[in-house]
Symmetry: C2
Subunit: 264 residues, 2 copies
């Protein structure tokens, strides 16, 4: 509804679909963390920081050295106050009257997001989606090398996909431990997802991205992020219905019979 309307999450996010939560680090009355200022960064802000980082990388490539919160906010699709607040969670790296230096922000956001180390990723389920993920060049370049692939299909095991041979899902715990996988991506059919998840956890993986339309049950120390296209579509559907309703209510559905509105 705001002027600068961006996108939502998925909540993500939530949503987008956000099971809200603070990322507070209780850190009892122990002194303060020596380096890494990093106190309580709201979950939502973390997601946005990742977006800022991408926008900033693009800016850096274009040779932009300095920019104001207003400019960055516009490019990231958020309002400038929110942007400044988000940045303030990670420290004070701007110069009043001037703005921010792109390279500094990039460095700091990378530091906070833990991108100074690289995190090996395992993809489980080499179907259409798994293939796409295994071949996608965007991750290795951003510090997320795909270091293991798994599938049940015996015909697929051993076959290299995107330069990496596929292993059998029974070997998930062993291989994950060996290759120090930190993030598991589940791209299997729904029925297999929970079993795969359990094996990933057994292999020491504590971070999972789940593309399967299932609610995974995991121990407390494991973090799951869900990506569910069906849910996204249904959320959009809801808003379509909402819009249609409001038109019917204040009468005069602007000439659209039912369904898609063509004009505006």
């Amino acid at each position: 509804m705001a002027a600068a309307r961006g996108q939502r999450g998925g909540d993500r996010d939530v949503p987008a679909a956000p099971n809200a939560a603070e990322v507070t680090m209780p850190i009892p009355p122990v002194s303060d963390t020596p380096m890494q200022r990093a106190r309580a960064i709201p979950e939502a802000a973390v997601a946005r920081l990742a977006v800022y980082l991408r926008v900033l990388s693009g800016m850096a490539e274009q040779g932009i050295v300095t920019l104001s919160s207003e400019e960055l906010a516009a490019a990231a699709g958020v309002n400038s106050a929110k942007l400044r607040k988000d940045l303030s969670y990670i420290g004070s790296y701007g110069t009043r009257g001037v703005g921010y230096e792109v390279s500094v922000l990039v460095d700091q956001i990378e530091r906070i997001l833990g991108l100074t180390r690289s995190h090996s990723v395992a993809v489980v389920g080499i179907g259409n989606l798994g293939h796409a993920l295994a071949n996608y060049g965007g991750f290795p370049s951003r510090g997320f090398p795909v270091a293991a692939l798994f599938d049940v299909d015996p015909d697929l095991v051993g076959v290299p996909v995107g330069g990496l041979p596929v292993s059998h899902i029974d070997d998930i715990p062993k291989v994950c431990a060996e290759r120090e996988i930190s993030i598991g991506v589940i791209a299997t059919p729904p029925a297999a997802a929970q079993a795969v998840c359990d094996r990933l956890v057994a292999g020491g993986v504590a971070s999972i991205v789940n593309f399967a339309p299932v609610v995974l049950q995991v121990p407390d120390h494991v973090e799951v992020r869900k990506v569910d296209l069906a849910v996204e579509l249904q959320i959009l559907s809801f808003h379509v219905a909402r819009r249609a309703d409001s038109m019917n209510v204040n009468g005069s559905a602007l000439g659209n019979v039912d369904g898609v509105v063509i004009g505006r």
Copy 2:
């Protein structure tokens, strides 16, 4: 951190990267909406309703007729109070002392989410991901028939993918209008995304799912949901870093040298 820990959004909630917002329908002092009670349903609740719907469908297939909020909540990975509140937004369809009838809930959630009509989907960008989406059987069966495919590549135009011939992206506005596409899915490389988005909008599409890692600029009446794997990975990376930090702080990193923690 709660006991029943589920997943987050992609807010996409957060998600994932959620630009929070109410779904309030101002509906001035006009009487009350005649049918469709549907007043202000929080964005986050809508995302969860979609999840409940999926869980409930599974239950229905298993022949479950009735269940309590507690049971459904457990299966959906949320706490039961939240679940009941979410359901209360759409009306009172439970029976005190007994619980909910699965089929009733399914019907009502489908009604609220606008799933009584089907919504035609267009997929733009028939690369690895686009292929996966075009072939994925999960959407048609849930009321989201894929009715158009687009790509720039002339070699691909005309070729049927998943039974549907690919059209050229220049024809997006025309084809979308003709086939009454209500949802566009962008699966192109980042550089092409904004142009594709503009054409979808020109074709009357007011709901977009964007897989390209770009912030799309759209007019106010268009709704964009972003699905960004890189962001998801970075959020997980953040939490990994957080966890590692806290271990170093209260001393005694349980025998892990640096990086992945194997035990627990």
